[in-house]
């Protein structure tokens, strides 16, 4: 194998700085996209399990639409197609004056996509809590909103903590798709360093270590939290 090894390359300027800023973008994308995914996904999960057919329909359509198109295609739709479909004024703004267009688009599209997955998790959590619990709440006179607030959601979130953590980590990994519209996040940066220095092995290894470490740490943290918040007498389901 013809290769010049140089493990110190990443600790030299400017490459170290590049990697750190790229990691920063990855983290930023992940957190902001997660905020969108979690809030929208929770609302959709509630709609999906609501007693009102119209709400269920809205949520189901959303989920089916966002679930059956690859994330990459969705990113392209938002970045290339959406601006064209707006009125001229908005179109111009999005294309020229909006700050950080690629970053914003990546965050929004990854967030909206993952919201559909979070919706399904919330739905399964609410179903796991059970119809009986819901009826018990209604039976004492609570409105549907109150039943969700005091009975269903608190327990549902405890149950789905492991799969929700998985969804966050999925966002973390999917942040790499932002590179296709020009965001120099972690994975893009390794490619860039490879092209500049030909030390691809070292660059890819660094990214690999970072991704694995983050996954490992988040999972470990989740297991700790899961153990502490588990209801007495229940056992937590393993991470999916």
């Amino acid at each position: 194998m013809n290769y010049n090894w140089d493990w110190g390359i990443l600790f030299r300027d400017p490459y170290l700085g590049w990697m750190i800023s790229a990691l920063g973008w990855t983290i930023l994308i992940s957190i902001l996209a997660w905020i969108i995914a979690f809030s929208l996904g929770s609302i959709l999960g509630i709609f999906r399990t609501s007693s009102k057919k119209s709400l269920r329909l809205i949520a189901t359509c959303y989920v089916e639409l966002f679930r059956n198109i690859p994330l990459l295609v969705q990113i392209f739709l938002w970045y290339f197609v959406f601006p064209e479909l707006l009125t001229d004024d908005w179109s111009r703004w999005v294309k020229r004056d909006m700050p950080y267009p690629a970053l914003t688009t990546a965050i929004i599209s990854i967030g909206l996509y993952t919201a559909s997955r979070v919706c399904e998790q919330v739905r399964s959590g609410i179903n796991a809590v059970g119809e009986d619990q819901r009826q018990a709440g209604r039976a004492i006179g609570m409105t549907e909103v109150q039943v969700y607030k005091y009975v269903l959601l608190p327990n549902a979130y405890r149950i789905i903590l492991p799969p929700l953590t998985s969804e966050f980590l999925t966002i973390f990994k999917n942040s790499s798709l932002a590179l296709t519209i020009g965001v120099i996040e972690l994975t893009a940066m390794t490619r860039q360093i490879e092209e500049y220095t030909f030390q691809g092995f070292e660059a890819f290894t660094a990214a690999t270590i970072i991704y694995s470490l983050v996954t490992f740490t988040v999972m470990a943290l989740m297991q700790q939290i899961d153990r502490r918040t588990a209801l007495p007498g229940s056992f937590s389901k393993g991470a999916s």
Binding site: L77, F80, E84, L177
Partner: protein
């Protein structure tokens, strides 16, 4: 909003068709490879020898912590180095997909094997079947029967994941559509078309899986 001109699609139908074929080819081969390697990993994981089961667990956890794009880059970069000469994007990408998806398949298959009652293994061993024979004739057939809907769902996910070959320029459906889009300045039409095709196919496939799941549940 300007005029949409979809005529660019039939005009380039052969290029697009080649792209669709590539997508299906890659998906099909990756599914087969992924399930074979995944089954192997699942069997290693439940083996009584710690070295084997730890290796399998490490493999699965490792690949599940990485973005697919990074794995594609790794193989794209590594395979030519190891083989010693330039290798086409397709081979590197295929290996990347198989290694990656196998990690996900192995978890599904492992759950499937564990769902088969322990008594079945005892009954098979009691007749004198070896461990491998018991797996092959008694446990795995039942596991796969139960897990088929989930395996198919993962296949649909794999089908969508193949769009990521974009990053190495392999000419799948998405990349072919983009070529047409850039050449004829028809980004909106082409990307909408791609989204529509993916949606119709995946949605129909997911309905098929739901139907299959219902039939399996009724059989039990």
């Amino acid at each position: 909003m300007f005029e949409l001109d979809f005529s660019v699609i039939p005009a380039n139908s052969s290029l697009l068709w080649e792209g669709i074929k590539m997508t299906f080819l890659l998906t099909g081969l990756a599914i087969v490879g992924g399930i074979i390697l995944g089954t192997f990993l699942a069997l290693l994981r439940i083996a009584k020898i710690p070295v084997l089961s730890q290796f399998s667990a490490a493999y699965v956890n490792f690949f599940r912590s990485l973005p697919l794009i990074l794995v594609i880059f790794w193989l794209f970069f590594l395979v030519p180095l190891i083989v010693g000469r330039p290798v086409g994007a397709f081979s590197s990408v295929l290996v990347a997909f198989i290694l990656f998806e196998a990690a996900y398949y192995s978890e599904i298959i492992r759950a499937g094997i564990n769902s088969v009652r322990l008594g079945q293994l005892a009954a098979a061993r009691a007749m004198g079947l070896t461990y491998i024979q018991s797996m092959r004739y008694v446990i795995l057939p039942q596991a796969f029967r139960a897990m088929t809907p989930i395996l198919l769902t993962q296949a649909i996910i794999l089908f969508q994941d193949t769009s990521l070959v974009y990053v190495v320029g392999l000419r799948d459906f998405l990349v072919s559509a983009e070529i047409v889009a850039n050449r004829d300045q028809r980004l909106v039409e082409m990307f909408l078309f791609v989204a529509l095709v993916y949606f119709v196919f995946c949605f129909a496939a997911s309905l098929g899986v739901k139907y299959l799941q219902k039939r399996i549940n009724n059989e039990l």
